[in-house]
C-alpha cells in the first residue's frame, strides 16, 4: 500500500512515508559505514566520515593475500551448505512423519522436540563441548556442524506445513503404488517448497552467522569460520576495524545472494509461517 500513493493527497501518509524512510536509513547506515571503512586506510579508520578521503582497496588485497580469509569463507560456506541440506532433509522427514502418521507416542515425541527450542545455545555449549571432547570432534568440521544438523524449529515448521497437504493426496499416491518414502519425496515435499525455501534461508543464515559455538569448538585458525576469523582481528590490545569491516563486507555477499535468489519464497514463507505457526 505504500507504493503508488500520492503524498499530496493524504498528510498521514507523508508521516508514514517519512518514518519508513528514516527506518530504512537507520538500517542502511551500518552497511554504508562497513563499506566505507573497508575502503579506508589504517590512519583514517577513526575518522568517522562516510566518504573516505583516500579510498583504497589495500584492505581487500591484504584480506585475500595475507590472512586465511578465503579458507574461513570456504569453511563457513561448506558448513552452512551441508547443515542446510541436512536440516531440509531430516526436518522435513521428521515433520512429515509427525504430521501424517498415527503412532503411539507421537505427541510425546513432538513435545520433546519442541521443548528443545526452549533451551538457549549458551546452556548447551558445555554439554556439546564435553560430548565433542569425548568423541574426538574438537577442532573438526563435524564438531562445528553437529549441533545444527537437525533443528527442532525446522521440524515444527515443516510439520505445520505438511498439515496443508491433504491426506487424500497421500492415500491416492498409495493406491497409485508409491512407496512411503517416495510419497514423501515426490508428492508431499514438492507441495511445501515455500516452507523449504524459508527454512533454507533461516538455516543458511543462522549457520553463516553462528559465532559462539564455532569459537569454542575450534582451535586452529584454519578451522575458523568467517565470524570467528573476523573476531580474531580483534586482539587483546588493538582491533583492526578496517580488516573486520572488509571481511564483514565480503561475508555479506553470500547472504545477499541467498536472499535475492529466494526472496520471493522467503516473503511468502514468512507470511505462511505466520499464518500457520
Amino acid at each position: 500500500m505504500i507504493f503508488g500513493f500520492d503524498p499530496s493527497r493524504d498528510p498521514r501518509k507523508i508521516l508514514i512515508w517519512t518514518l519508513v524512510a528514516l527506518g530504512g536509513l537507520v538500517m542502511i547506515m551500518p552497511f554504508a559505514f562497513m563499506i566505507s571503512t573497508s575502503l579506508k586506510g589504517r590512519g583514517e579508520v577513526y575518522d568517522l566520515r562516510l566518504v573516505p578521503l583516500a579510498p583504497t582497496l589495500e584492505n581487500y588485497t591484504y584480506l585475500f593475500r595475507e590472512t586465511k580469509f578465503v579458507r574461513w569463507f570456504l569453511n563457513s560456506f561448506s558448513i552452512a551448505s551441508i547443515s542446510t541440506i541436512s536440516v531440509l532433509f531430516f526436518d522435513s522427514l521428521a515433520g512429515y512423519v509427525l504430521c501424517k502418521y498415527r503412532f503411539k507416542g507421537r505427541q510425546v515425541v513432538f513435545v520433546a522436540i519442541l521443548s528443545t527450542l526452549m533451551i538457549p545455545t549458551e546452556m548447551l555449549v558445555i554439554p556439546w563441548y564435553v560430548m565433542s571432547k569425548n568423541m574426538g570432534w574438537l577442532d573438526t568440521y563435524w564438531g562445528i556442524m553437529f549441533p545444527g544438523m537437525i533443528t527442532g524449529f525446522g521440524v515444527f515448521l515443516m510439520k505445520q506445513f505438511f498439515e496443508t497437504v491433504p491426506d487424500a493426496l497421500i492415500d491416492a499416491a498409495r493406491i497409485d503404488g508409491l512407496g512411503e518414502f517416495r510419497i514423501f519425496w515426490e508428492v508431499a515435499l514438492p507441495l511445501v517448497t515455500p516452507a523449504l525455501s524459508a527454512l533454507a534461508i533461516f538455516t543458511f543464515l543462522g549457520s553463516w552467522t553462528a559465532f559462539l559455538w564455532p569459537l569454542i569448538v575450534t582451535n586452529s585458525s584454519s578451522n575458523y569460520t568467517v565470524p570467528v576469523g573476523l573476531a580474531s582481528f580483534s586482539g587483546e590490545f588493538s582491533t583492526e576495524w578496517n580488516m573486520i569491516m572488509t571481511g564483514a563486507a565480503v561475508a555479506t555477499i553470500p547472504t545477499l545472494v541467498v536472499f535475492i535468489l529466494l526472496q520471493k519464497y522467503i516473503i511468502r514463507g514468512v507470511i505462511l509461517s505466520g499464518v500457520k505457526g
Partner: protein, 361 residues
C-alpha cells in the same frame, strides 16, 4: 472385473468401534452405494476395501483373492476422493499417467490409455494444464481418469460429488452412471446424499452407527423400508411419522389425537397397546378437498405451500402435528384451507416405536 465380498469386517480406532462386523456381497459389475449420515462408518468401510485402513477383524475378498494383507496397489482397485486428490504439481497428463508409470507400463500403452480416458472424459484439450487451471468438475474428471486408466477390477468412490455445485453434481452423476454402463466395472460408491444413492445404485446399503441397516434395490428401500431410520433417510421430503398405539382387533392403529386407522391386516408380533409409528410417504398422501373414505383420511389445515413446478409440497397441520404431502403442481390451495389427506392401505407403514423395526411392509 471382480466381485467384492466382505465378511464380518470390524474396525476399531483406539477404543471406539466404528464398524461392527459388516457382511456384504457385491456382484461382479454391480454398482453398490453405501449411504448413511456422517460417522456411520461408510467411508471407513470403503477405505478398508481400498487397503487404506487395516481390518480389526473379518475378511475382504476381491474376486477370488483374500486381500486383507495386500497393499492398496496390489488390490486391483482405483479410488476417487471427495477433494479430488489430484497432484497439484503435475499436469493433467502426468496425473492420469502417474499410476501407470508406477506400474512400469510401456510408454506407448501408457499414452494409449491416457488418450482413451481423456477422450471419454472430454479432457483432451486440458492434458497439458495444471490442476489449478481447472474447474471443480474438470478436476473430478481428472481424478476419474486417473482411476480409469488403471483398468481396475473395482472402482471405489468416496463422496466424489460433494464438493461440486448442484448443477454440476447432477451432470457428473449422470456421467458416472454412463461410465459404469460403458465399462461395466464393479463400483462401490459412498455418499451421504440419498438422491445420489437412489439414482446411481443397483443396490443401496444403508448404514447407521457402523452397522448395515438395510440392503436392497433403490425402489425396494423406498417402498419397503425395514426400519424407521431407512424410511426417513431415503426419500425427500422424509416419510411422515404419526405416533399411535395398536388397537384391539386385527390391523387397527389408534393415532394420537387423530383417529383410528383400520384394515392394516396382520402386524408382525404386535400386541394391543404397543406404541407404534404410522409412516406414510408425502407422495402417497393425496390432498382431497371433499370428505372421502379410505383407511387413512385425515382432516388437515394447510400451512406452508411450496410449489416445485410439476408438483407442490403441501405442509398441513393434523391434530397439532405437521404432515407433508406431495400434490399435483396444478393444485390451487391457500394457507388456512381445510383439506383431507388420504392414503391407501398399501402405502402405509407401521414401525415399532421402541425398536424402530417395521411391523408391516
Amino acid at each position: 472385473m471382480a466381485s467384492v465380498s466382505l465378511s464380518g469386517i470390524v474396525k476399531r480406532f483406539d477404543r471406539t468401534v466404528v464398524v461392527h462386523g459388516i457382511d456384504l456381497d457385491i456382484a461382479d459389475g454391480e454398482f453398490v452405494v453405501l449411504v448413511g449420515p456422517s460417522g456411520c462408518g461408510k467411508s471407513t468401510t470403503l477405505r478398508m476395501i481400498a487397503g487404506l485402513e487395516d481390518l480389526t477383524a473379518g475378511q475382504i475378498r476381491i474376486g477370488e483373492r483374500v486381500v486383507d494383507r495386500l497393499e492398496p496397489k496390489d488390490r486391483n482397485i482405483a479410488m476417487v476422493f471427495q477433494n479430488y486428490a489430484i497432484y497439484p504439481h503435475m499436469t493433467v497428463r502426468k496425473n492420469i499417467a502417474f499410476g501407470l508409470r508406477m506400474a512400469k507400463l510401456p510408454k506407448p500403452e501408457e499414452d494409449r490409455r491416457v488418450r482413451e480416458a481423456a477422450e471419454i472424459l472430454g479432457l483432451v484439450d486440458l492434458l497439458e494444464r495444471r490442476p489449478s487451471q481447472l474447474s471443480g468438475g474438470q478436476r473430478q474428471r481428472v481424478a476419474i481418469g486417473r482411476a480409469m486408466v488403471r483398468n481396475p477390477a473395482v472402482f471405489l468412490f468416496d463422496e466424489p460429488l460433494s464438493n461440486l455445485d448442484a448443477q454440476l453434481r447432477a451432470q457428473m452423476r449422470l456421467e458416472i452412471k454412463k461410465l459404469h454402463q460403458t465399462l461395466g466395472t464393479t463400483v462401490v460408491y459412498v455418499t451421504h446424499d440419498q438422491v445420489e444413492a437412489m439414482t446411481l445404485a443397483d443396490r443401496i446399503v444403508v448404514m447407521r452407527d457402523g452397522r448395515i441397516e438395510q440392503v436392497g434395490a433403490p425402489t425396494e428401500l423406498y417402498r419397503r423400508p425395514a426400519s424407521m431410520f431407512v424410511a426417513r433417510f431415503i426419500g425427500s421430503p422424509s416419510m411422515n411419522m404419526i405416533p399411535g398405539v395398536i388397537a384391539e382387533g386385527v390391523g387397527a392403529v389408534g393415532l394420537d389425537g387423530v383417529g383410528t386407522v383400520s384394515g392394516l391386516g396382520e402386524l408382525e408380533n404386535a400386541s394391543a397397546g404397543r406404541r407404534v409409528f404410522l409412516g406414510v410417504r408425502p407422495d402417497d398422501l393425496r390432498v382431497a378437498t371433499e370428505a372421502g373414505g379410505g383407511p387413512l383420511s385425515l382432516e388437515a389445515r394447510v400451512g406452508v405451500i411450496e410449489p416445485l413446478g410439476p408438483e407442490t409440497l403441501v405442509y398441513a397441520e393434523v391434530g397439532g402435528r405437521e404432515l407433508v404431502a406431495k400434490a399435483d403442481g396444478r393444485i390451487s390451495l391457500r394457507r388456512g384451507d381445510v383439506v383431507r389427506l388420504v392414503a391407501d392401505v398399501d402405502e402405509l407403514h407401521v414401525f415399532d416405536a421402541e425398536t424402530e423395526v417395521v411391523l408391516r411392509r
